[in-house]
């Protein structure tokens, strides 16, 4: 607890720093900060020099053309990149003031605080209930609390009414949209602070997409959300801040390296971006 409160102080200092550097008005405290982040796969630098905050209780969207490193950056936010043997992160990524790649940080604990929802729904081939209790179980939450947790998580993910009578059925029997909401519920059940979502709607139809977007608005009150999306309307609809990435041919390696072009309030990105590349992208004119 004391550790947390001290980190809150670091964090507000960091916010002040970013506010001037990025010329955006901070709406509130940040929960994460990226500073000069580059991610490599082996020798290949996939993204370079990303500096941006993630604000608390906001939805931050990452947009940009395919291959610009959105997923790469997102995965580095909860150290999922550690699962890729060649991946390496440079620069600093902090969560509540703590450097996530610091020597005393356990990546497993990071992932408990910073949950993830994947592009393709990936429920376990277990029952709906077991999918939800998986996280709490390994986090050592008492068994007596599971039933309440199952209900509250499924309610938060707006899927309770659809599954409450079939909690012990296989999760694989759900539709794609239901599976994705189940995955969101599963991520929520471990009570993270931050939810990372990598194109959570790209496998879904417009109705299911709409439900997940509504859901994200509700979840905002309790969580800070970072979402990668290819869908510009979606970014405009749901997010508060928006980061636009693009790729550029790297002078050293002659390979395409992703970079952050602009980070700003979403309204500004879509109405009055400061970079021409952003404007071209959001208005549908490429290059």
């Amino acid at each position: 607890m004391t550790e947390q409160s001290s980190s809150r102080i670091d964090q507000s200092a960091a916010v002040a720093g970013y506010a001037s550097a990025l010329d955006v008005e901070p709406k509130g405290p940040t929960v994460m900060n990226l500073d000069q982040v580059s991610v490599y796969y082996g020798d290949f630098r996939a993204v370079r020099d990303v500096t941006m905050p993630v604000y608390e209780h906001e939805i931050t969207a990452m947009i940009g053309p395919s291959g610009c490193g959105k997923s790469t950056v997102l995965r580095s936010l909860n150290r999922m990149n550690d699962l890729i043997p060649t991946a390496r992160v440079e620069g600093s990524i902090s969560y509540m003031g703590v450097d996530l790649y610091g020597p005393n940080v356990d990546p497993v604990e990071v992932r408990r605080r910073i949950g993830m929802v994947f592009q393709k729904p990936n429920p376990f081939p277990k029952s709906i209930r077991e999918n939800i209790t998986y996280g709490p179980k390994i986090a050592g939450i008492a068994k007596s609390e599971w039933p309440a947790l199952v209900e509250s998580s499924l309610r938060s993910a707006a899927i309770w009414d659809e599954v409450k009578d079939r909690l012990d059925d296989s999760a694989l029997g759900l539709s794609g949209g239901q599976q994705q909401r189940l995955c969101i519920a599963r991520a929520i059940a471990t009570k993270p602070d931050v939810l990372l979502m990598d194109e959570p709607c790209s496998a879904l139809d417009p109705i299911a997409t709409g439900r997940i977007e509504d859901l994200m608005q509700q979840l905002k009150d309790e969580y800070s959300i970072v979402i990668v999306t290819h869908n510009m309307q979606q970014a405009a609809r749901v997010s508060d801040h928006c980061a636009f990435f693009t790729t550029e041919v790297d002078a050293d390696s002659e390979r395409r390296t992703g970079q952050l072009v602009e980070f700003s309030e979403t309204t500004r990105i879509f109405s009055n971006p400061s970079d021409e590349r952003t404007e071209n992208y959001v208005t549908g004119r490429f290059g």
């Binding site: 992932r111 949950g115 429920p123 998986y134 996280g135 390994i138 986090a139 599963r186």
Partner: protein, 321 residues
Amino acid sequence: MAPNPERLLRANPRRQLKERLVKALVAAAALLSVLISIAIVASLVVRALQFVTGLMAPTADTMDEATGPVSLWNLVADQWAPRFFEFGIGTLIVGSLLVTVIAMALATPIGLGAAIYLSEYADARVRRIVKPILEVLAGIPSVVLGFFALRWISPNLVQVIFPSAGGQNLLAAGLGVGLLTIPLIASISEDAMASVPDALRQASAGLGARKRRTTLSVVLPAAVSGLVAALIVAVSRAIGETMVVFLAAGASGNSAQFTANPLDRGSTMTAAMASQASGTDGTISELGFNSLFFVGFVLFVITLLLNLLADRFVRRVRQSY
């Protein structure tokens, strides 16, 4: 000129014929394999029945000076010695059971451990090197391992730990069979685990699971049918293994005393069949020769039951998902 639609759509008799020919060929292949299996089982059953009726109707040829005329009681004799009309098949069943249990006790943890290491922990380079080696190991001729069990495992392991054990014993044979099945279990289990989608591992890691938790709670359950398949193949291999037991367990002259002690010499169903078929006993009496088919039939029933059981198990585990 517009093409004539009737011509366009007309069936081509040559192609239809070819299609029918191919169908007939593959159907014949399927039929043949079924027929062969049926013929094998039928010959087993017929000879096994002949054996049983032979026991029930003793003749002058099936008379032993010491024990008198044969009867069904000879099936529960305390030894297996067809030469003396002692058909205590329990001796062989227990022998097979001992060897199989010992083999599986050795091979299951090592084989599964190796599979888990290869599929979940080893980096791609190690896997690329080790996996083919495993597959080569799986192909080691069993006579080599039998010899190894007899000349190395028994004196350097079994007899060191259990000085009372003889040079030939069921334990050494079981360990030899176990060595034989390790690569089998490792290789099939690794295939099963490698086919578990990576998305499930990521989901688990994303929820704050450590690797061992992911392996135990996600990968192994998802791979369960493949793992059970690996164990069944291994058990079938262990029950069916002949040469290692033949060499290392040491029931000479095709006779074995009943024993449940793995340190004793003994025999198994397959080893007894091999010595019966290869030795001179077969010529001694028709009854003795037919006993071979009887043992074969019992073996067949046991393996069949095993497979059915495993099938039910897999289905039950799958349904609980």
